[in-house]
């Protein structure tokens, strides 16, 4: 008798299982987050234009850095807790390239004799930007100099640990050590005081119907857009990108199909690190250079990468935009204190981790 009852349980389950494929929630379900996000974006773009614009600018930089993070995580297998400090470090390298300044004493900078600021017309503002071509060069140099530093760190810290079969956690602790050291080096060389590339009030541009936008912010958005597109092209339109994605999917399989693992890993650091470094320089242009900022950036960047889905570059960029906009708009509403901006981002992070751990665009694992 009991046997019969149990049998009917099985059969009901079987029937239900076969029915379930046609439930509406399965067809509509995936669209719900997108509807929510799109609705929020549209609403905030109209009702909270100021905060929306700032959110997009800051968010695009979070996004760039998150693309770097997600590549480094997916391919180089490092949970990179030094990411924010790498951003700031690159920004300081660009600062050094531009002004040649390092702190010599407590009272003033020692200025390195050769720097880009000396080039003729390098600091003459272009268009309505506050900076000249010197800064653009400096950012390129800063990003270029940061990459070998990252490669060295990978070569001498992360790779030996990976070879030893260390866990994710050990690598994360190591990257924390790297972060602390980098922060210390920045403090040693440039001191704790905040710096900026160019002083003064920046020119704004008035576009009817939009809030006043600082001309520099156009540059930041443009540069972020160009870099994100370039990253997309590299990842999806080149052999290198194919190799990188293959390695992110399955390193063993990639090795078996003849991909040069070591070279791909190096290129990952070049591409991911370069994006991160550029994001750092642009962020410093938007606000300021400060050694302390690095650690503060960590939460929004990780939130962006996780929101977009770890391993998904375009997801990470989108995640950055969402984190930036939501953070700014939420505190701009005046309901909660601006001090809770990080709390808003934290709540988003937790919500994503719990409700959709693979992120918006991440592959299901």
């Amino acid at each position: 008798m009991a046997q019969a009852v149990e049998k009917s349980v099985v059969e009901r389950e079987v029937a239900l299982a076969r029915q379930r494929t046609t439930r509406w929630s399965q067809t509509l379900g995936p669209w719900v987050p997108w509807l929510l996000i799109g609705g929020f974006a549209a609403w905030s773009a109209v009702a909270r234009t100021d905060q929306f614009v700032v959110g997009v600018i800051v968010g695009s930089l979070y996004g760039l850095a998150a693309v770097g993070l997600t590549l480094i995580y997916g391919i180089a297998r490092v949970s990179h807790f030094a990411h924010g400090d790498v951003m700031m470090f690159a920004a300081y390298l660009a600062f050094f390239a531009l002004t040649g300044a390092v702190v010599g004493s407590q009272t003033g900078d020692v200025v390195f004799p050769f720097h880009l600021g000396q080039l003729p017309g390098a600091t003459e503002p272009i268009w309505r930007f506050s900076f000249g071509y010197g800064l653009v060069l400096a950012i390129l140099i800063g990003a270029t100099l940061a990459v070998p530093v990252l490669l060295a760190i990978d070569r001498f810290v992360y790779q030996p640990l990976l070879r030893r079969g260390s866990s994710t956690a050990i690598l994360a602790v190591a990257s924390l050590g790297v972060a602390i050291s980098m922060r210390g080096v920045m403090l040693l060389i440039w001191g704790p005081t905040g710096r900026r590339y160019v002083g003064g009030i920046r020119t704004t541009v008035d576009i009817p119907g939009l809030p006043r936008i600082v001309a520099d912010q156009f540059f930041i958005m443009l540069a972020a857009g160009v870099l994100a597109t370039a990253a997309y092209v590299v990842l999806y339109r080149t052999r290198l990108g194919t190799a990188m994605r293959a390695m992110a999917d399955n390193a063993d399989l990639a090795r078996a199909s003849g991909i040069d693992i070591a070279a791909t890993r190096r290129w990952t650091w070049v591409v991911g690190g370069g994006l991160t470094a550029a994001a750092g320089c642009l962020l410093a242009l938007q606000s300021q250079l400060s050694p302390e900022l690095g650690f503060i950036l960590l939460l929004p960047i990780f939130a962006s990468a996780i929101l977009g889905g770890i391993g998904s570059p375009h997801g990470a960029f989108l995640g950055g935009l969402i984190v930036g906009v939501v953070g700014e708009v939420a505190v701009g509403l005046g309901v909660i204190s601006p001090g809770y901006k990080m709390a808003v981002i934290f709540v988003m992070l937790i919500a994503v981790i719990l409700l959709r751990p693979r992120g918006l665009l991440g592959a299901q694992s």
Partner: protein, 447 residues
């Protein structure tokens, strides 16, 4: 424990004995300091012939590191003047440096080092209320060492658990907030918003300003705290200016001021700004562009128009050139003089004795004496003659009440004029007499 011992002795005897040897060595090494205590001699001698040692605990690194060097110059100025004029109890003062690193934890460790290892009788500093409070409560108070802070303005220090060893030569934030409100009303501003740094300093200013401003009939549209390290302050500014206030009160430090003032101006329809003393930074204005804030007002704890203030300024100019627009230099100078005078009066370098004499030399009655070499010589002569002295310092009359606070002080009003910060007004405030608080006393513009 017994089980572990048992196992090791029985199972791996050879190995265990070696390990025990190592452990014994480790234990011995750890015992060294303890054993040494009993072998060592007694307490540090508080010899009368010892020179007076004063420590400065300033932020040479960390968030407020910009201030460290000028602060040290102010302290050195006073020490040099006193030493050239004969020193304290016939001995030159020794100045010891400590770095608070703008961190409460390090300030505590440093204070302990200065007291126990450097054997100082008094500490001047640290700069922030967040550091001063733990230092007073856990180090100087229990150890019975005099601590005078020149810049910790939080009202909470008044009731600190300090065994009456904590004093300050600076007036509480309340005074500046009151003057800021007065200035705002005098300029005809009806409504104001406050953008303040979220620490004891900003909070105190915000409260004092808001109370006074509303009492005088103004409207507060928003009170927005901000954090020091932020990529952007757009949302803070937006929340602050949402109610279209006539004036924005900026109570902050240059670190964040640089960023949010720029964003404020760039946002377009910015209201007028009144700055707190933390933003009295020529560097910051130079970077933002002087012309942007031309004519804007600010306040700061400042020098009264007294001989003492003039003496300080003159001495500074002789020693280092122009007096920088850095706050609290006079307060540091006064703190050193007070300690020296009290030590002279007590004829001792013992901290408690100095503390006991401190109010005698700072408050009325007594012959008024001031800073500077001559001032010191007069004071020493008066003390030797058995007279009471009353120190009148560069920052004010520095009368210490029963809590170790000064209630009378001078707040200056400054204005951005051309490429400089000019003092336009100076007002004396007596917080003890509430009804007279903020009455302009010296209403005539200086400079």
């Amino acid at each position: 424990m017994l089980i572990g011992q048992f196992r090791q002795n029985t199972t791996a005897t050879r190995c265990a004995s070696r390990r025990w040897g190592l452990r014994a060595t480790a234990a011995l090494l750890l015992l060294v300091p303890l054993v040494a205590t009993y072998a060592g001699e007694g307490a540090r001698a508080q010899d009368e012939a010892e020179p007076l040692r004063i420590a400065v605990l300033f932020p040479f690194t960390g968030d407020l590191s910009d201030f460290g060097q000028p602060f040290l110059q102010a302290a050195e100025l006073a020490v040099n003047q006193i030493n050239e004029a004969g020193g304290v109890n016939g001995q030159p003062i020794e100045l010891v440096q400590g770095d608070s690193a703008t961190s409460p934890q390090q300030a505590v460790e440093e204070a302990r080092r200065l007291i126990e290892l450097e054997g100082v009788s008094a500490i001047v500093g640290p700069a922030g209320s967040g550091e001063t409070l733990p230092v007073a409560e856990s180090v100087t108070g229990p150890a019975g060492v005099l601590e005078i802070t020149m810049s910790a303005t939080s009202p909470a220090l008044t009731i600190a658990n300090d065994n009456d060893f904590l004093f300050r030569t600076v007036i509480s934030d309340a005074a500046q907030g009151v003057v800021m409100a007065d200035v705002a009303r005098e300029q005809g501003f009806e409504s104001a918003c406050v953008l303040y740094v979220n620490n004891a300093y900003g909070q105190g200013l915000n409260e004092a300003f808001a109370d006074r401003f509303t009492a005088e009939g103004g409207t507060i549209t928003a009170q927005v705290p901000h954090e020091q390290e932020q990529a952007s302050y757009a949302s803070e500014i937006a929340s602050c200016t949402e109610g279209d206030p006539d004036v924005l009160i900026a109570a902050a430090y240059p670190e964040s001021g640089r960023v949010f003032l720029r964003e404020l101006v760039e946002s377009g329809d910015a209201p007028s700004v009144i700055f707190s003393d933390g933003l009295q930074s020529p560097d910051m204005f130079a970077e933002l562009g002087w012309e942007v804030f031309e004519g804007s007002y600010g306040t700061a704890a400042g020098a009264p128009e007294t001989d003492a203030a003039a003496t300080f300024e003159q001495a500074w100019e002789e020693a280092y050139g122009e007096v920088p627009a850095v706050p609290y230099l006079r307060e540091i100078n006064d703190a050193i003089y007070l300690i020296a005078l009290a030590a002279e009066q007590a004829d001792s370098t013992d901290s408690a004795a100095i503390r006991d004499a401190l109010r005698e030399v700072a408050n009325e009655p007594g012959t008024a004496v001031g800073p500077g070499q001559e001032g010191w010589q007069e004071a020493v002569a008066a003390i030797d003659a058995g007279e009471d002295v009353n120190y009148e310092g560069g920052a004010g009359s520095v009368d210490l009440d029963e809590n170790g606070d000064v209630s009378k002080g001078t707040i200056i009003v400054w204005q951005v004029q051309g490429e400089a910060i000019e003092t336009t007004d100076s007002r004396e405030i007596d917080l003890a007499a509430e009804d007279t608080a903020g009455t302009p006393v010296a209403g005539t513009p200086v400079s």
